[in-house]
Subunit: 338 residues, 2 copies
């Protein structure tokens, strides 16, 4: 089925990410069914399908059951609190294909799959936890973009026995087909990494906005560094709380690291010559940020084995393709910084 | 001289901000002389002048003395360490007009003026400390843009006896003529405000980059929230150190506030239900950032008196024009948030 490069995908949840995967899979030539719990969103998605190019259309199903009935791959693009109930529904209708998701924390989803899908279902449905590192200011199906994942890092969790390497390669084939860089990681590694690069940045942005707003003069002077440093503070508190609170352990550890680093800056400000004391504190972050994003090194072939793949992810690498025989993958490591 | 709306301005230092003021004053019809310590920059500025529109040209002087010889207003756009020596030079040639600056900290400059310009010079040269809240990723004269200050907040410090209200209104007339919103403040108020909205954001950005780079997986997954939250971390360490270290007292206080706020987030993460505990912590910053930038209220006339002007600045307001008779200003307060 996968060798044909034309699979049947069901996307459950048609917000920005779900809608974009729906459009992207359809544009890549797959047969795609979408479902959203909100009837208005289903209607919008149905109207948009009729306007899409003939080779890139999708269907909108009236129920989860109808959406997954003939699917090879179910992609869950619902908020974390809805993942459990949807897994129950999929298990109840006897779905036996593959399941992946796009939720921004991976250990809680893995635990849900373990308790709900695999236990109720005798493990006939395979699971590969996923997280595309794509986001936009805007949300909802109307912002969906089939090109959202081009060049985007998309984590796929690889941890036998929850996820077999075979299932992983299947989802990796589909996702690299959307132009994404597939990053192999365990759920724990993923959650630790996103705490540092996404969840803690949300907390810092909020802390900046919370303190600056108390001084009207400061508020009226705020310009570029404030605008960018606080951009994500405007996100809905419930969403950020779910994201950070759902990953509390890793966020605590990452926040503690940042607090320790800032305490060192505080000490430098107390020095007799604070200007001189701050330079060595500032330099590593300045060089690091100057070298971000990391540049890709030369592509290489790697054996499609869990240990090699996870080692690649830990080294900051990703894969861009799975070989037809599924024995190797095309891998890219970041180029060394000069 | 000022009623004619055509004054002679000397700009010392032709980097991004100096070059942009040079171009902006020239475009506004003033007679403008520029000087930079770097001969190559002077040559670039001279070539650019020849290419400018006939009514918007400037001259480049070979020395500070030549630049300020006939000036009514000298604008210092040099880094903080160069301000003292340039003030000495201006005093030595017997300059007796007005001096303003664009340095990002105001108390250190005020102290320099007090010690160097006013003491050596028997206070014949007037001084108005300034700081346009404009910046760009790029630097240098080649990035200079005459429209850089359109709509931009430009602090002008107003503290008798260092700065007379008469001198302040003169510089405010010139700067509002460039399209800037002039914000009246004391040097101390300015330094406290920029610590919160510019200097501490630089420290947070650096702390984020410094900690995230230690995990190659995190580094390769970093996307939008990291990109924006760390953008200014790539700035030159020496510049950020000069800025934060030159304002160490205010930066310490602002950093302590942010650290206290983050410590509250840390406690919320320790709660039995961290998701629920984080929502009230996140909400004030989210509403605040959602309402930024503040929208202007209706323009009103205010008496051109220090107390009224400083009260306006403290309330988050600004002025857009000085009346011909210099008795009133056109003021704008931020509109109340719904």
């Amino acid at each position: 089925m996968w060798q044909s490069h034309r699979v049947r995908v069901a996307v459950i949840g048609l917000g920005l990410i779900g809608g974009s995967t729906l459009r992207a899979f359809a544009a890549a030539g797959h047969r795609v069914f979408g479902y959203d719990a909100d009837p208005a969103t289903r209607a919008t998605a149905r109207t948009a399908a009729a306007r899409a190019a003939p080779g890139a259309r999708w269907q909108v199903a009236p129920t989860v059951r109808d959406a997954v009935a003939d699917a090879d791959l179910v992609l869950l693009a619902v908020p974390l609190p809805a993942v459990g109930p949807v897994l129950d529904e999929i298990a109840a209708v006897g779905y036996s294909g593959l399941v992946t998701d796009v939720t921004s924390v991976k250990e809680p989803v893995r635990r849900l799959v373990d308790r709900r899908l695999h236990r109720q279902h005798d493990r006939t449905a395979g699971f590969v936890g996923g997280h595309p590192m794509a986001g936009r200011e805007t949300s909802g199906f109307t912002s969906a973009d089939p090109k959202l994942f081009t060049g985007c890092a998309w984590v796929l969790c690889l941890e036998p026995p929850v996820t077999s390497v075979d299932d992983w390669l299947t989802v990796a084939t589909a996702v690299t087909g959307l132009g994404a860089r597939v990053v192999p990681a365990t759920a724990e590694e993923h959650d630790r990494a996103v705490a540092a690069i996404s969840h803690v940045p949300h907390l810092l942005a909020t802390a900046l906005a919370t303190t600056a707003v108390t001084d009207p003069l400061a508020w009226s002077l705020a310009a570029g560094s404030f605008r960018d440093g606080t951009r994500v503070a405007a996100s809905r508190p419930e969403l950020v709380a779910a994201m950070c609170g759902g990953n509390a352990g890793a966020v605590r550890a990452a926040l503690d690291e940042v607090l320790a680093t800032l305490t060192a800056a505080r000490a430098a400000l107390d020095a007799q010559d604070p200007v001189q004391a701050l330079v060595p504190w500032l330099t590593p972050g300045s060089s690091a940020r100057g070298g971000w994003p990391p540049q890709p090194g030369r592509p290489l072939e790697l054996p499609a084995r869990p240990d090699a793949l996870l080692r690649l992810g830990r080294a900051g690498g990703w894969i861009t393709a799975v070989a037809e025989d599924r024995r190797t993958v095309t891998a890219v490591r970041p180029a060394p910084v000069d």
